[in-house]
């Protein structure tokens, strides 16, 4: 049982790490800000999400698990804020409210 859980953790964490790689490559290679944003949100939401998922399987107790999920949700919120910023600045017409 513990072996299966460990294998799942390794799988999820590896996939998460891969998304971070993909996000970085996208950030460096994509031509314009909006598609770079697209790459970034994938890395943020999925990369960290999968790492959290992998660690959840190893978490000791429900409070530790709750904190892990909390970290992920807060990062999503930070990502949403940045997305808002990019939407403002990259949108044709500029920064006017």
């Amino acid at each position: 049982m513990s072996f299966a859980l460990d294998a799942l953790t390794i799988l999820a964490v590896s996939t998460g790490a891969f998304f971070f790689l993909a996000g970085t490559v996208g950030l460096l290679r994509f031509p314009d800000a909006l598609s770079r944003l697209h790459a970034l949100t994938k890395a943020d939401n999925l990369g960290l999400g999968l790492v959290v998922l992998g660690l959840l399987l190893q978490a000791e107790g429900s409070f530790a698990a709750l904190k892990l999920i909390g970290v992920w949700l807060l990062t999503l919120l930070a990502g949403a804020t940045v997305t808002q910023l990019i939407a403002r600045t990259a949108r044709p017409g500029g920064t006017h409210e």
Binding site: G70, L74, L77, A80, T81, Q84, E97
Partner: protein, 311 residues
């Protein structure tokens, strides 16, 4: 070791960026990243208490303070160009700094063996404090005088900032009035974040007696949430002449000092706690101290009064 080498290179890279970036705003972004990486370093150095403080103050609140300043000073950015020191001076400065670095490195390499440590003494005396976290025990018992003075230093810095206000706004509202975001997204995020942050802050404070955390870390998170509510226009900063605000700022140091003086009567020494009540007294000090620190930190970021008090 490979991990640590990579982390060190990353820290140094971000530090170089903070110094050489042409744009101040970009340098501040670098500084926030520097704080984040240092938090990782503190975890690697087995100092999670410091990592929490670094993440909260070193990166977060300092970052927001410098960010605000850099946006206000943006228009002065180009005017400093003519003052850039010449190549000779820069070369001399570079050599001097390399010398300083080499000196510090030499000290690091010549650290005495075995390393001097107060860990055994802390371990021997921690039982008397009733606390489980050695760092909190040091802050609240062994070096309590430092902690007391620190709360006073925060107040002095705040008095210094308030005294920079112009006469006509004396005692008024600090900083500009921020209005709630018309599109509502930031306001919505802040409304979500503030209650969650207050919970996290109280949690970090509360576990501080047994696990990494404590009143400084908790206070910084609470302060950050208050600043967040202010900059998103959810609440306005209070006029600095408000009595409740002054009381809140003074409560921590006052209680700390009172219990410290009571130590003379109870055990014959300043800031000495009688053993059976040590934990109770420490918690009695910590709660008002946390609130005072949180208020002081938030107001330090808010800056001097800029708007006239209403009455």
């Amino acid at each position: 070791m490979a991990f640590d080498t990579g982390l060190v290179l990353l820290v140094l890279g971000v530090a170089v960026w903070t110094i050489v970036a042409r744009d101040t705003f970009a340098a501040v972004v670098g500084f926030v990243a520097y704080g984040l990486l240092l938090a990782l370093v503190w975890v690697r150095l087995a100092a999670p208490d410091v990592a929490l403080t670094e993440a909260a103050i070193g990166s977060g609140v300092t970052g927001v303070l410098l960010l605000g300043a850099s946006t206000r000073l943006r228009r002065t950015e180009t005017s400093g160009a003519g003052e850039k020191p010449g190549i000779t001076l820069r070369l001399a400065a570079g050599m001097l700094c390399a010398l300083v670095s080499a000196g510090v490195a030499a000290i690091v390499l010549k650290f005495p063996e075995p390393a001097p440590t107060l860990a055994p003494q802390t371990a021997a005396n921690i039982v008397a404090t009733g606390l489980g976290n050695p760092v909190t025990a040091v802050l609240m018992a062994y070096r309590a005088i430092d902690t007391l003075l620190e709360t006073v230093v925060l107040l002095l810095a705040l008095v210094g900032i308030w005294s920079l206000a112009q006469d006509r706004v004396w005692g008024g509202f600090p900083g500009p009035r921020h209005h709630a975001d018309l599109e509502g997204v930031l306001t919505f995020i802040a409304q979500l974040l503030v209650p969650v942050g207050i919970l996290v802050g109280i949690h970090i404070f509360w576990i501080g007696s047994v696990a990494p955390g404590g009143e400084f870390q908790g206070a910084t998170i609470l302060a950050a949430m208050w600043i967040l509510a202010m900059i998103t226009g959810l609440v306005d900063a209070p006029p600095v002449s408000r009595r409740w605000l002054r009381l809140m700022l003074l409560a921590g140091p006052a209680v700390f000092l009172a219990i410290g003086l009571a130590g003379f009567a109870m055990t014959g020494a300043f800031l000495a706690y009688p053993a059976p009540y040590a934990k109770l007294l420490i918690v009695t000090i910590e709660v008002p101290v946390m609130l005072s620190i949180a208020a002081a930190l938030a107001l330090l970021v808010a800056g001097p009064p800029e708007r006239r008090p209403q009455r």
